[in-house]
Structures are given as C-alpha cells and as structure tokens.
C-alpha cells in the first residue's frame, strides 16, 4: 500500500500538470485529459479486499491538491480530480472523501473565490459533492495506524517509568546495573585475553584481539580436525558444507600455528585437544558451535568467497 501511494501521487501529479498547462479551469478540459490518460483504469485490477483501502488512499492523495498552498488552478484541478475519482471508484458502497475540520475555512474561501470569478462548473461540482454526501467530516483525514512504533516506544518508556510502583522501579535500576556489569565483564575478559596472548609478537599483535582469539580457536579446531581425520569421520550435516572452508583455512591457521609454536612452549597438541574435548564432551558439539565457525570465516577472505559460492 505504501508503494502504491507514491505511484498514485505521481499519476495525480501528471494529470494535474497537464491540466495546469492548459491554463484553463473548465471541467470539459479536465475531462478530456482524464479520458486521454484513461485515468479511471486506476481502479482496475485491485483485489477485492483491498478495494476500499485503495479507494481511500486515492481519495486522500487527491484531497491534498484541493487545499492551499497550491494555486487556484491546481485546486480546481484537485476538486475535479476528487469528483472524478469519487464517481469512478469501485468500492461499494462508495468510500467518502475525508474533510478535516481545519480545512473547512479554506474550502469555503475557495468556493467564494470561484463564485466571484463565476466559475460555475467548479461551484456546481463542489455543491454536487456536498449534495451527494461525498464528504465525511472528520478530525484528521490521514491518520491511520502508521508511525505507531516511534510513538509507542516513547509512550511505553514514559508509561513504564510512570507505571512502576516504588518497589518495581528497581526494574529500571537493574537495567542500569546490567549495563555496568556487562561493561565490567567485557573489560575483564579483554584484559585476560591480552595477558593470554602476550606471547604472540608477530603480525598477530597488529591484528585485532578478536583475530588473536580466533587464531587460538583455529589452532584448536585444526587440532581437532587432524584428530578427526585419523578416525572414521562422522560429520554433522552442519559441518558438511563447512568442511571446504576449514580446509582452506588450515593453511592459514597452520602458518599462525607454526609461528606460535616457535615462540613459546604450550601444552602439547594432544593435551590441548583432550582438554577441549573434555570441556565440551562432544567433538561435534565443539566444532559446530556457532561463534567459532563464523570467526574462522573472518580469518580468510578466500574461505568467504567459497562460502558464497556454496550458498548461491
């Protein structure tokens, strides 16, 4: 419905632009353009349950051209447009034109201008619309359910802060605590990581912390994989397509691995693998954990490419 709104607006503006070019305010001129553009076809092809909503949309779109600040000629064109759309619409019973209270004065002024200028067709058409009760006298014509979300956010926030009793206002406090707790925890973790990775002085030190972390993980996974190769592999479905990715990264991680090896003594590969396995209790669970694989992917752009090809 939103997409069609701008198309409807474009069509109305096209029609009114042509009307403006004729420099006339006669209804016959307008009707000629209407016929030439076959404008009543705008209602064709609308699904049954959307008919009323569409007619409402079209009438509302045309309504704005009937009001200031548009020029008198455009306003006359807008009036003719409203009249034509009202009578060619397909909703049954007809959808009305919503006229806002604040616009009433403008409409009356317009009518008086037209009478003074003796534009009888404009006056006749306006009076005819009133006679046929084509107008609904409303507060605001365009308010449907749109834009609830922002208002709702603000409202809910204000209402929540108002709604909670003194006991429950701690609800807000908890939130604040949570944020500080989180930041404290993250800070701790970061520091711990930094300590753990001080032995990596080569290009790893220039990489992000996350990459250092994932190189460690890559080592672990590589070790697991090498172990898995030794045994009869029973792959998870989730690992099947990721296998390609891992193969290509083992070179990269092996390179890092080697450099890591030459530096500092670490626990033996066997021990580390065993610890890792014991921790999770399941090889496949360990390797299929979401974070690690996605971090692996960031290591190597080639693997990303392969993944993209796999997916497409």
């Amino acid at each position: 419905m939103d997409a069609s709104h701008k198309h409807v607006k474009a069509d109305c503006e096209a029609l009114l632009a042509r009307f403006q070019q004729t420099q006339s305010v006669r209804f016959e001129v307008f009707a000629n353009i209407w016929r030439e553009m076959k404008f009543s076809q705008i209602f064709r092809g609308v699904v049954k349950h959307e008919k009323r909503a569409f007619c409402h949309l079209v009438l509302n779109t045309a309504y704005c051209y009937f009001l200031p600040p548009f020029s008198f000629q455009i306003r006359v064109g807008g009036l003719y447009l409203l009249y034509s759309l009202y009578y060619t619409q397909t909703a049954s019973p007809s959808e009305q034109i919503h006229l806002a209270l604040k616009d009433w004065e403008e409409v009356k002024k317009f009518e008086n201008n037209a009478i003074d200028a003796q534009h009888m067709d404009a006056v006749y058409i306006l009076r005819h619309l009133m006679f046929c009760k084509a107008f609904r006298f409303t507060a605001m014509p365009t308010l449907e359910m749109s834009n609830v979300s922002d208002l709702y956010e603000n409202m809910k926030a204000s209402v929540l802060s108002q709604m909670t009793t003194p006991g429950d206002s701690s609800f807000n406090l908890i939130r604040k605590d949570l944020v500080s707790q989180l930041s404290g925890t993250v800070q701790e973790f970061y520091n711990w990581q930094r300590e753990k990775e001080t032995f990596d002085e080569n290009e790893n030190s220039q990489e992000d912390t996350s990459q250092k972390v994932c190189s460690n993980r890559a080592e672990l996974l590589a070790s697991i994989k090498s172990k898995a190769f030794g045994e009869a592999p029973e792959t998870l479905k989730s690992r099947r397509h990721r296998r390609v990715e891992m193969n290509s990264t083992t070179e990269a991680s092996a390179a890092l691995l080697n450099q890591g090896y030459t530096r500092i003594l670490k626990q033996s590969l066997r021990k580390r693998t065993r610890d890792a396995l014991l921790l999770s209790g399941d090889v496949q669970m360990e390797s299929a954990s979401h974070t690690r694989i996605s971090l692996l992917a960031t290591l190597d752009s080639a693997s990303k490419k392969i993944l993209k090809e796999e997916r497409s």
Binding site: S4, V46, V123
Partner: protein
C-alpha cells in the same frame, strides 16, 4: 498533507497536527462536534438524500442562472464525460488493462505477475478481511429509537495486543472498534476482548471439572483507561479497586506532572479531551496493558451503520493461529500440563477429551503424576 498552522489554536475544538501525519494536539471531542455542526447546514450531515431537482433549482436560483445555462452546466459536469471506454464495452474491473500508462497500473501489473509466479496461498487474514465489514456496511438505516441521531460523533479506536506479544508490538491492532460519542468508557471496556480475561489461575489436576468457575474476568474486575493525564477507573462493581492510585501517588512523590482520576462509567466519549493518533493505555487484570489509539473522530454519515444496538462495532479483528491438541491435532487446546509422565513433551497441550481420556480413569480418578492448568488459546476470539 496540509501543513499544520503555526499559531497555536486557542479554540480547543479544532484538531491540529502535533506531529504531521502522526497525531494531533489534544482536543475536546464534544467541542469538535459542535464546531462541525456550527459550520454545516443541517442537510449536509443528515442521513436523508436530498432530491436532485430541488438541488439544481436551488443552485440555479442562488447563482442566477437561466434554465438553459443550468442544463448546459449539468451536461458539462456530468460523469459520463469521464468514461474512458466505449459505452457498450463491458470491462472487467478485476484485470489490469494491457499496455498500462499509469504508474500505479504498471506497478500493480508487475506485482500481480510476481505474485502469480510465487504461487502464494491466500492467507486467512485476507480471506476474512472484509467479513466484518460485509455484516454492517450498507445496512438499511433503522427507524425510530434505534437509530443514531444525526450529528453524532463516530470514533474509530484501535486496540493493540499487550506488549508481551513481541511479534505484534508495532504493527497490527488486535481489534478495531467503532464507538459513538455518547457511549461511556465502560462500554468500550466491555467490548475489548483479551484472553487474559478468560484465563484461569490455578492447578486443577485433581479437580478438572471445577475449572471453568474461576475465570479471571470475574475475579479481577478492576481496570482503567489513561487519557491525557487522567486515569479513568472502573468502579461499577463493589470488588473493583482503584488500581491507578499507586501510580498517582508515586507520580506526586517523584516530581511528575499531576495526574487526576475519574470514573469510567461517568465519562462519555464526548467529554474526553484526546489526541487523535496518539497511543493511550488500557490496563486490566492489574498488569495486562493494551495500547489504545483513536485513529479517527468524525460525524456520522449515511453510509455508516446506523443501528445503535450494533455499537460498539467491531470492524477489524486479528486472527491468531490456534494451538491444537498434541494428540488429535483437531481441537483447540484447553489444558496445559507439566511434569506429565504421559505427555510427549514438557509442557504439553491437550484438548478436553484427550486430556480426560489420557489422565483419568473411567471413574474420574487421577492417574499418575502431572500438573494441569486450564489453557486459553490466543485464538479463542477468532
């Protein structure tokens, strides 16, 4: 649409935009109605259709036009001149014409082609979209006391799901009601269907037959509306408590603007001062909160449903998926069991029959260990 005027309107009856296309400033509904009635002639808002010849004669007289001029004018402005196809050609309005020139049609055609290629099944929302409308639009106007008096105000109110249903927080109203200006707020309250009203609290595995006597609606009757800094409490029944008093007192203690209270049953819509398009609150059961938005306030029109007995009128209802029994997958679930040794999952849903067959013997004695709670499905109002 039209820009909002820069000068603040001293007259509280005329709605102005506060934020364009979003909501208006607060205005008094009764004054709004009076403003409109002052500006219109009685024929403009009556439900009777004027006679066309009278209209033309009056017009000609007022403008000083002769009969010929009048006839010429009439034919010039006739809607026949708007017809875009030959008179005898019968066109189906359901098809998009070939070679469309209008942008709307081009886009619509594209959308149609895309939709047909996807083979999207009609969903239940579209299917029942106009079901409610069909019941009411175009009904012949009633005569006599049942008829809405002319000049009455009609409000369109959207009621949203409680915020705990994250899926529908921002989009769909749960229901849309039409109310007249002379309705009280209690009538709105009674018309709002929320399943938390039907919920039963408590564990009933030992006494499954007694459950229906305990609906929350009967136990917790207090509720309030919050419009523009005023809490409207429901005080009709002796059990009703003023549940907004805690908020009002808290606000006093915490430097908030003063809130006042009023009675729901004494307030009619014409007495309210509201913003159109702005969310307000309805709270019941102590903690079940619904956002309420008044989307439109207008005068009654002859095409509206004019039968007073049908209001508050439901025009839109969101239809939820219902949870079915885990056993038969046919009936809607009414029992919710936990720690159930017979159930395939924890928790598990059963319809009434399957529940009794599985958990009780022929004498009605409880078999095995389980906890059973009566379950009200969200789709209960479908």
């Amino acid at each position: 649409m039209a820009e909002s005027k820069q000068t603040p309107d001293a007259n509280t009856g005329i709605p102005e935009y506060e934020y364009i296309d979003v909501n208006t400033k607060p205005f008094h509904v009764g004054s709004f109605r009076d403003e409109w009635l002052a500006r219109l002639r009685p024929e403009d808002f009556s439900f009777q259709q004027e006679d066309e010849e009278t209209f033309e004669a009056n017009f000609a007289a007022e403008m000083g036009l002769g009969a010929d001029t009048m006839a010429e004018l009439k034919s010039a402005c006739s809607i026949d001149s708007l017809r875009c196809h030959p008179e005898d050609e019968q066109l189906s309005m359901d098809d998009v014409p070939s070679n469309p020139r209008l942008k709307t049609l081009i886009q619509r055609k594209r959308k149609q082609e895309r939709a047909s290629s996807h083979n999207i099944h009609k969903n239940r929302h579209d299917f029942y979209a106009d079901e409610l409308e069909r019941l009411t639009i175009g009904r012949p106007p009633e005569m006599g006391a049942d008829r809405i008096p002319k000049g009455e105000v009609l409000l369109t109110i959207n009621i949203y799901h409680p915020a705990v249903y994250e899926k529908f927080n921002f989009t769909r109203p749960c229901m849309t009601l039409l109310m007249t200006g002379s309705h009280t707020l209690t009538e709105l309250r009674d018309a709002i269907c929320c399943i938390s009203d039907l919920q039963v609290c408590g564990e009933f595995s030992k006494t499954p037959d007694v459950a229906p006597d305990f609906i929350s609606k009967d136990h917790f009757k207090s509720a309030f509306f919050f419009f523009e800094g005023v809490f409207y409490n429901d005080m009709r029944f002796p059990e009703c408590q003023d549940i907004s008093i805690t908020t009002v007192e808290w606000a006093k203690a915490h430097n908030f603007p003063q809130y006042s209270q009023a009675k729901m049953e004494d307030t009619r819509f014409v007495d309210l001062k509201v913003k159109v398009g702005f969310p307000y609150l309805y709270c019941h059961q102590g903690e079940c909160e619904h956002i309420i938005i008044i989307t439109d306030v207008r005068l009654f029109h002859k095409t509206d449903c004019l039968d007073k007995n049908l209001y508050p009128l439901l025009t839109h209802k969101h239809r939820s998926l219902t949870q079915k029994c885990a056993v038969c997958h046919v009936f809607i679930a009414r029992w919710y069991t936990t720690n159930d040794q017979f159930a395939p999952s924890d928790p598990c849903l059963f319809c009434d029959q399957c529940f009794r067959i599985l958990h009780y013997d022929t004498e009605g004695n409880k078999l095995g260990q389980f906890f059973a709670f009566p379950y009200t499905d969200r789709g209960a109002f479908n």
